[in-house]
Homo-oligomer: 385 residues x 2
Amino acid sequence: MTPQPGSAGDVLTLISAGSATTRSDLARLTGLARSTISQRVDALIERGLVEETESGESTGGRPPRQLRLHTEKHAFAGVDLGATHCRMSLMDISGNVLAECEDALHIGEGPDNVLAHVDQRLDHLLGQAGRPRKALRALGIGVPGPVEFATGRPNNPPIMPGWNDYPVPDYFEGVEVLVDNDVNVMALGEHRNAYAGTSHLLFVKVGTGIGCGIMAEGKLHRGAQGSAGDIGHIRVSGHDDAGCRCGNSACLEAVAGGAAIARRLTELGLPAESGGDVVALVQSGNTQALRLVREAGRLIGEVLASLVNFFNPEVIVIGGALSRVHEHLLAGIRETVYRRSLPLATNHLSITPSRTGINAAALGAGILAIEHYLSPDNINRIVNA
Amino acid sequence: MTPQPGSAGDVLTLISAGSATTRSDLARLTGLARSTISQRVDALIERGLVEETESGESTGGRPPRQLRLHTEKHAFAGVDLGATHCRMSLMDISGNVLAECEDALHIGEGPDNVLAHVDQRLDHLLGQAGRPRKALRALGIGVPGPVEFATGRPNNPPIMPGWNDYPVPDYFEGVEVLVDNDVNVMALGEHRNAYAGTSHLLFVKVGTGIGCGIMAEGKLHRGAQGSAGDIGHIRVSGHDDAGCRCGNSACLEAVAGGAAIARRLTELGLPAESGGDVVALVQSGNTQALRLVREAGRLIGEVLASLVNFFNPEVIVIGGALSRVHEHLLAGIRETVYRRSLPLATNHLSITPSRTGINAAALGAGILAIEHYLSPDNINRIVNA
DNA sequence: CATGCTTTGTTCGATCTTCGGCGAAAGTCA
DNA sequence: TGACTTTCGCCGAAGATCGAACAAAGCATG
């Protein structure tokens, strides 16, 4: 007899992961009797969590009834709050996007204004998708700064004036709210989207600043204070003259971030304000810009080489605004990482551009919300209620 | 009704962790009925895994019978194989040391010779402790090189000629064998011994070389290829002239490892061959040696500062031969880490010398073996057999 | 020191879960 | 069309868990 692999929550986890699509699959995977599985599945169907679709392929006998998450009944939202934008995705329980939106929005306007905007957009998206507000089960929010994940309170975020210690979840009633750093939700989204089989992954966001989301054993590593992955202020050699807003000098972000590259281009007589301008210059074939991006890649690679030795990931994904010119960025990164990291760690390492697009953070935030809702404990609570 | 927190294995986990010492405790913690707990405990006692001791303190009623792991019946061993030594600890199931030994032994003699030595010493220790060979349940071995943990095969270890891909566990019959990197078992030992409540911990070993064991979420992080924590070859700034045996230059180990310090002392006219000699010089009050150790601390601190930003640990423990002069080493490390890491990450960070002594690796290896044996799955298998 | 109170631990019947066999359903294959 | 295969619901049997009742073992109190 297998130990105890068979609560309703566990069954649902197998269905949602795609590991099992029929009752027989479930019986095989869990080791439980078919009758027991049927009972579990019935409970899940009754609660509106699972639905049966038309019969699938027969393998020589009666074709099994396919099971899948009930995609009509629930709604989840992912919110990507940037310094100057707000992107949102409304999703069903299996992660399909139902509606999206994007607005300019300054996070510096403070939590009340920003969250009011989110709340209003939420209604808008729900309307578009034709689902009532009460179908919304959970809400994930990615913010550009450190967060105490357990409470959803931003923790001294440098670019979010007015948000420090603000209890974001309290703003929304009747919905579970999960708040996390934007890079973390991007890492989660990329992992679930494109690297679900990978245990250890780093997602490096190269935008105005530089940050990193860490997946360890398939789960987000947030660290003791939720500040893990803050690689923008790691020191790089040979740039002691570059001062950083954090008060130190030679920080990676201060020499290889989008803002830093833009500043250096401006000094060279090529006016650029943001990472977007840098990308535009590179795409227009400007060799100075190209050289600086490649050099930035080398510096990022220097830091990543250390982290590869330390953390030994299987995949490093490069995302963020500057990854739109990823050929040049990646060339510099790869060059340095493969030179400076140990062979054992780089043998099976791949360094690739993000496969998830501009909505990576909103999608990841939505996935955070969905996975929270689908956690075995939560499902058992719902089913046994 | 709580989901399902109550297999025999779970019950034993609570007992072994010290979370519960009586049947009542167990009932309270698991949510199961007292009668059910009694049944589970009876099964564990019958299998010789748990024993009852005299009654404990009464809290106003009948005094509870204390439960604890049955320390008489089983034996576990931890082996610390270094470049030139072999330390072994024989332990009972709750981690108490029953017997220890230490020999000079060159790992370069190859697996057959070295493991024969271990096997013979094992019998010796078992004899000393008065336990039969068949009481030995599991064996943990820490080796100075990377290991594919799942199979127990060393993976291109640089200082273990003849060991590459050798299936260490096959050498021992009738015993489960776990092989891991020495720094990993040291980290495990230190964590369980002194920082059990800490989720994220780094154990940095500063000896001839420099390595790091990573505890994340209370578990060892080994990385994709089992090479995680190999921080000895991370580049430090300003030492591009220092060549390293790995083929690169400016590796941390090549400038701050015990061997590197010894070499530089020799160049200064103070003959030193190993980290031990360096320690001796420092303890004799030599200011050159002291200065070099402190400088090494700064360089190690530079690397750790990056890792603190990236990983955000709660505790960094400094161990290894050079930690015997930890005042000086720690001064340099702390100085740099607190200067170069972000405040959020250093606010609650403590950097301390190892509390576990010279036998840290052997103890950790033994704990690895014990925890493997006590894993709920394994216990359920034993009890249901 | 007898009596009641409290907490622990066991016993045992009631209840709830799970299992597994059987038959119906729904397909394939010859 | 009939034999075979696989799925799935039904239901009695077997097993696990619970909770009430009781025994055990101490403390408190007059």
